[in-house]
Symmetry: C2
Subunit: 198 residues, 2 copies
């Protein structure tokens, strides 16, 4: 068919990749995946990215946990993700919308101390006042214990991975609840980088 495939109404999702800069990248990814309970999300992996779909709390819980379990190896690991909600399209994975809000990976993942540098961008689609919506959400990010700074095409966040993900999830939910019909958020996160910080 070749068409753009999105989600049915209000199912959220994320297309993400974990890139460990190591000869052992397969081992690091598969070990991280084994530590994460993905039973409350629809999940599919191919050679470019992994898709998770379902309710917002589980999407963030699962992606955060996989990144943390990969990063705790100490290897330089990048996380590249596109979160989306409200994209018009198919219905695969809708059964996962019946799951409750109890997240399965927070207890174990949130004990992992790990700093990261992140660039994120928010794209509320189809709306006119999108720049003001974005500025408001960047301001809100400062409440999550992370350092917020500007860069081209994105906002930079520095701090603990757990705090960064809490902030990203809050911003995504707020955007959704403010009435944005179709919200996309991209996230590039880097842990254990040998480069000096900017």
């Amino acid at each position: 068919m070749g068409n753009f495939v999105c989600g049915s109404n209000r199912i959220a999702g994320c297309s993400f990749s974990i890139h460990p800069m190591s000869d052992d990248f397969i081992e690091i990814i598969t070990t991280a995946l084994k530590e994460v309970d993905t039973s409350k999300v629809w999940m599919q992996t191919d050679d470019v990215s992994t898709l998770v779909r379902g309710r917002i709390p589980h999407i963030f819980d699962v992606t955060k946990a996989i990144f943390l379990h990969a990063a705790k190896t100490g290897v330089h690991v990048a996380f590249e993700a596109t979160y989306s909600v409200g994209c018009p399209g198919d219905t695969a994975g809708d059964v996962y919308m019946a799951e409750d809000d109890h997240v399965l990976n927070k207890e174990k993942a949130d004990t992992i101390k790990q700093e990261a540098a992140t660039k994120f961008a928010l794209y509320p689609l189809g709306g006119g006042d999108y720049m003001n919506q974005i500025y408001a959400q960047i301001e809100a990010m400062k409440d999550h214990g992370v350092k917020v700074s500007g860069t081209h095409y994105a906002t930079r966040l520095d701090g603990e991975v757990v705090n960064i993900f809490n902030g990203l999830e809050k911003v995504f939910i707020d955007m959704e609840e403010s009435g944005s019909l179709h919200t996309v958020m991209t996230v590039s996160m880097s842990a254990n980088s040998p480069s000096a910080k900017g």
Copy 2:
């Protein structure tokens, strides 16, 4: 200041990362960079991504060349990029808008035979009819000798890297010329992956 920083009117740009899944990732990236002439773009690297800004042909020429020179090592390399044009904001790099259209890296880079799998997504911001604009551009992708298929939140392209980049650049320019005030395109590309193709 902490604000969202974008580009001045019609300067294009890209925030991208090259992730070689190898212990030699630093060597692979620095060697690839040395093979690429970046004199017609504004460029800045930090620990999360590299920014290039300037005229559209040079943005695509430089990013394509860096990815190809990294991928030709045979190592599994991922390329993650956000292209943007029309974002309201600052003016750094405007001097590069005076460059001509002659691209500096095509002759050498386009001789590199390299297949890749790609997922790309197009986000025309601030407009109402954005889904139809996206569908039209996906159709146009089929003219570039790459296999086009649907996936969640993105369109998948399989083929030669040179053809994929030609298609991406054309789609980006068409979107810009169709009057979209602020266009964002995200690209995830994977070369030499050990995973079976989907």
